[in-house]
Amino acid sequence: MENIEILVVGKHEQIMKTIIRLIDAKTQWKGHAASTVEESMKLAKSFAFNVVLLGAGLTTAESDDLRSSFTVPVIQHYGGGSGLLFAEIYEAIGK
C-alpha cells in the first residue's frame, strides 16, 4: 500500500514541526511542510500529495492560491495539534 502524502502549509514553525511529527507517527502517512505557496508548488513537483492542510498564519490570498493550485482536497486545519488532525485527514481522504 502506498503512503498517504500530506502537505501542511503554515507559518508557525514550532506548530508545523508538531503537526509533521504527529502525521509521520501514523503508519503509511508522510508529512511535508511548507510555509509559502512557492515552497508548496516546488514540493508538489516531487510528491503526489493526497491532501493539503492549510495551517495558521496564511493570508486569504495564499489560501486561495493553494486551493486553486491543487486538484486534491485542500482543507483548513484547525486546532494546531493532534485533537482534530486525524479526523480532518480521514475525512479528506474518504476513510
Binding site: 514550532q14 506548530i15 484547525y78 486546532g79 494546531g80 493532534s82 479526523a87
Partner: protein
Amino acid sequence: MAKTIFHIANSRGNVDLGWLKSNHTFSFGNYYNPERINFGALRVLNDDTVAGGKGFGTHPHDNMEIISIPLGGGLKHHDSMDNIAVIQDGDIQVMSAGTGIFHEEQNNDQEEDVHFLQIWIYPNQLNVTPRYAQLTLDKSARHNKLQQILSPDANDQGVWIYQNAWFQLGDFDKGSQVSYTLHDKNNGVYVFIIYGFAEVEGQQLHTRDGLGITELDDLKISFIQRTEFLIMEVPMNF
C-alpha cells in the same frame, strides 16, 4: 418542527490513559467516528478527568476557541503568553488560539482528581492574535435560572469568543422548568447534562447525555430531578 440528535452518555468515545480518563462526544485524537464530527461550530466536547499530580504537557493550539469549565478540583494553566493561573469549579477559562499558542495544563492537586469540560468552537476569524481570559462565576446565580457564561460580546455577561455563540449554565430543582430563546434563529442548541435528569424536546436526558437541536426558536426544559446542565448555542453554518 425542531430536529434533534441524541448522544447518550455511554456512546461517547472513551479514552483511558491511566492519568487521563476522557469521554469525547465528537471525534478527537485517535477517536474517529465519521457520524460524530461536530454540531455546527461546536467541534469538541471532552469530559476529562486528570489524576492528581498529572496533566497535559506543553502542546500547541491554533485557530480555535477553547473553553474549559472545571467541574471539580483545580487545573493549573501555563501558556506561551506567560499566563499562569489556576481555574477551579465555578470558573470558566477561554483561549483564542489564533496564530498559535503553546500551553500546558496540570492538575493543581497532587492527590485528588480534577474534572473538567473542554469545549472547542470553530472561530469566525482565522489568525487572530492569541488571547487568554478566565472568570470566576457566581454559582448561586444559576440556581433555578440560566446564567450566561459566554457570548460573542466582550461587554456582555461571561467570557467572550470569536464566534456567534452563547453558553448558559443552569442548576434547577426537581419539578421546575425553564425556557431558552435563541439569539439567532439560524443557530442550533446543544444541551449537555452535567448531572441530573431532564426532558428536552420530548427526549429524556440523564447525566452526561447530550442533545443537539436545530430549526427551533425556543427551547423548553423540564427537570425530572435536580439537574445541572450546559446550553451551547452555536451557528450551524459558519
